[in-house]
């Protein structure tokens, strides 16, 4: 332990001072932890506010709203269930990103005599340093952003300054969960690359993903729909189990996603079009990675699909304040999802640039023209995204039938939100891919210089 504890902070500090190449990845990891803890606190804070309003006697202006208070808590919990997976995913992705960036350096340390246990412990400490920095920054951003929420009102009451502020134990729980996940992701991520003294141990051919993934997801969705018929969301236990179940179903999209990527890309590998072939091969080589690239946007699509029917929901569906509140809530949920997706997309695109550095250099040297590179990258963004949204939006629509009692009219607001989300999702992904161009160019020139 002692070696890892004494060496890790030193190496981390030295690396920050060196600020070359890997610095980008470090900064991005801290940014991701900041965003995820900020949004986690915000979402938890909102739910806490509704819970407090429900619990406190006379907090709400009239009896009708007091009657609806529990529904607000329920809907807030739904929003949490929708967002918890992408928030945790962002934190996990940040940890993984760091691990990838370290692989080469860690191999050198293994060679001259650091045991694999020490390597893992050292990486966990490094991740914790980044995650704690992110949590502190995220908490600061959360507190600073509190006054802005006062512009909004729910239940005909403006949000009070302190209302979103979490009690210390809830704050600890939220941050603690994020840190725990970061550590777990680091350990798992390192186990996957098995750092041997000679570098990444074995670049083995990825195994074909099996159909059981699809079976599990279909079974979960059916089970959820059946379960929802027999449970009462208004009761406390019913609410909690439904929300947990929903989170589980959302998380399971991650199982089927890579499998779908593989399914769609396989025919593409039999073609004479270079760009199409390269894109398809890359997806086939790492369907999980291709999915990770768009996973956060898939969740966004899911949320948009899920909330299409929302404005017509609930027993007080015709009350204007209720519809107004739900639309506000939906907009906030989508906004949070969008920020998460933007951060995650940028992060995964950037890390792919580093992960594929060797391949890019080889292709560049072989004389593959820049136009092909561009075309490949666009395909790599658009194809997985189309698959992701094509799956998640219908799934969201399907599951939203649980919350929807009836549809009075065509949900104009919901559909326009959905369309906007899909368009934004595509723009965001293409934008993130374009944003990584300088990074890619940097890698090509840096490698050239090294071999002068």
């Amino acid at each position: 332990m002692s070696v890892a504890v004494s060496l890790a902070p030193r190496l981390a500090i030295e690396r920050i001072r060196a600020t070359k190449g890997a610095g980008v990845l470090d900064a991005m990891a801290v940014l991701a932890f900041t965003v995820s803890s900020w949004l986690a606190l915000t979402v938890a804070g909102g739910t806490w506010m509704f819970f407090q309003r429900w619990q406190a006697e006379g907090a709400l202006p009239d009896s009708q709203q007091t009657g609806l208070a529990i529904t607000y808590v329920a809907l807030a919990c739904f929003a949490c269930a929708l967002l918890v997976i992408p928030i945790l995913g962002l934190g996990g992705g940040a940890a993984r990103l760091g691990a990838r960036g370290r692989v080469r350096r860690l191999a050198s340390l293994r060679l001259i005599g650091m045991t694999s246990g020490e390597v893992v412990r050292m990486s966990v400490i490094e991740t914790l340093v980044q995650a704690v920095a992110g949590a502190v920054l995220g908490s600061a951003v959360f507190v600073v952003s509190l006054p802005l929420w006062q512009l909004l009102s729910f239940q005909m009451l403006p949000i009070g300054f302190g209302e979103l502020l979490l009690p210390w134990w809830l704050w600890l729980a939220v941050i603690g969960a994020l840190l725990l996940l970061a550590v777990a992701s680091t350990v798992l991520g390192l186990r996957r690359v098995t750092i041997s003294p000679l570098g990444i141990a074995r670049d083995h051919t990825p195994r074909r993903l099996k159909t059981w993934r699809l079976v599990v997801v279909v079974a979960l969705v059916v089970a959820f729909l059946v379960y929802a018929q027999f449970t009462n969301i208004a009761s406390f236990i019913g609410l909690v189990t439904t929300v947990v179940f929903l989170a589980l179903v959302i998380g399971s999209i991650n199982l089927v996603g890579p499998w779908l990527m593989q399914l769609v890309a396989r025919p593409g590998a039999r073609t004479s079009n270079v760009a199409r072939l390269l894109a398809a091969r890359r997806i086939l080589d790492d369907p999980r990675g291709a999915w990770r690239n768009v996973a956060s946007l898939a969740f966004l699509g899911f949320i948009a699909g899920f909330v299409v029917t929302m404005p017509a929901t609930g027993e007080g569906g015709t009350d204007t304040f209720f519809v107004h509140d739900i639309q506000t809530g939906v907009a906030i949920t989508l906004a949070v999802g969008l920020i998460l997706a933007a951060t995650a997309t940028l992060m995964t695109q950037a890390s792919q640039v580093f992960d594929r550095a060797a391949e890019s250099i080889a292709l560049d040297r072989m004389g593959v023209p820049a136009t092909v590179h561009l075309s490949v990258r666009r395909r790599l963004v658009v194809v997985p995204l189309a698959v992701a949204l094509g799956t998640s939006v219908p799934l969201g629509l399907l599951l939203s039938t649980v919350a929807a009692v009836q549809l009075d009219s065509f949900p104009v607001v919901g559909v326009s939100l959905l369309a906007g989300t899909v368009i934004l999702g595509f723009l965001l992904s293409l934008g993130a891919a374009e944003a990584c161009r300088p990074l890619q160019a940097g890698i090509l020139t840096e490698q050239r210089r090294r071999n002068d």
């Binding site: 070696v3 190496l11 690396r15 060196a18 050198s108 293994r110 001259i112 005599g113 045991t115 694999s116």
Partner: protein, 253 residues
């Protein structure tokens, strides 16, 4: 009782070593029944064309890779049965590495890199060791570079840092894998002379893997591999002699 490696004057040895990759259909035999010992205090070159198994042999001797069958000793320790942590500890106490790719830690300065093996062992160098390190730094001309980072140094300088790090703990054996592979010919000669000096003047045992006849000509002994077998084992030779043997091997295969 069988004689130990020490009795034979060896720092490392392998006996009836086999190594194959892949499954039955696609099996590749990297090493076939290789038995060879590295003598203490000598500078040994392990030579052969690419694909001859020389790097595999070195990796197995250094405990970086495992054999399919056969025995491997480092000193008197049978390392074929050791687990990963024990191998790691053995590596950091008794073996030094000089690789083609230098393998320096980019974020540590030169001094930090040289002292890293001690730090990993959780101790500071003794006064005697510190004196040795200072001498190495002076001989290798790194005195003015201690506060620099690896990327601020030329390839030759980086390789000298790697040499200093490998020799610092006075390991039983230093493994060098194509140590001049990334260097121009003048810098290569400097590095090879340094290795030769370390062996002659300080009695450092060195095993160097190379395909370059000029590099091999600096060694006291040359073990030639081809197609995963030891095909020749000769004492110091000129580059011309080594080249002609290599050419002969190519004609045969």
């Amino acid at each position: 009782m069988k004689p130990t490696s020490t009795d034979l004057g060896l720092v490392a040895r392998v006996a009836h070593l086999h190594k194959s990759y892949g499954t039955t259909n696609t099996r590749v035999n990297a090493l076939t029944d290789v038995s060879v010992g590295i003598r203490r205090g000598e500078f040994t070159a392990i030579m052969g064309p690419s694909g001859s198994g020389k790097s595999t042999l070195m990796h197995i001797m250094a405990g970086l890779d495992t054999a399919s069958s056969g025995s491997v000793w480092l000193g008197d320790t049978d390392i074929s049965g050791l687990d990963d942590s024990n191998l790691t500890v053995l590596r950091r106490r008794r073996v030094g590495f000089i690789f083609q790719s230098f393998n320096l830690v980019p974020t540590l300065d030169i001094s930090g890199n040289i002292l890293l093996p001690f730090e990993l062992d959780g101790r500071a160098p003794t006064a005697e060791e510190q004196a040795w390190i200072d001498r190495l730094i002076a001989v290798l001309g790194l005195t003015d570079r201690l506060r620099h980072r690896p990327h601020e140094l030329s390839g030759g300088q980086q390789q000298r840092v790697a040499i200093a790090r490998a020799l610092a703990t006075r390991p039983d054996l230093v493994f060098a894998d194509e140590p001049t592979g990334n260097l121009d010919s003048r810098t290569s000669r400097e590095v090879l002379t340094l290795l030769q000096t370390a062996s002659r003047e300080y009695g450092q045992s060195i095993a160097m893997v190379t395909h370059d006849p000029v590099a091999a000509s600096y060694a006291d002994r040359i073990v030639l591999l081809n197609d995963g077998r030891v095909v020749d084992d000769r004492s110091r030779s000129t580059p011309e002699e080594i080249s002609s043997i290599m050419l002969g091997m190519e004609a045969l295969s």
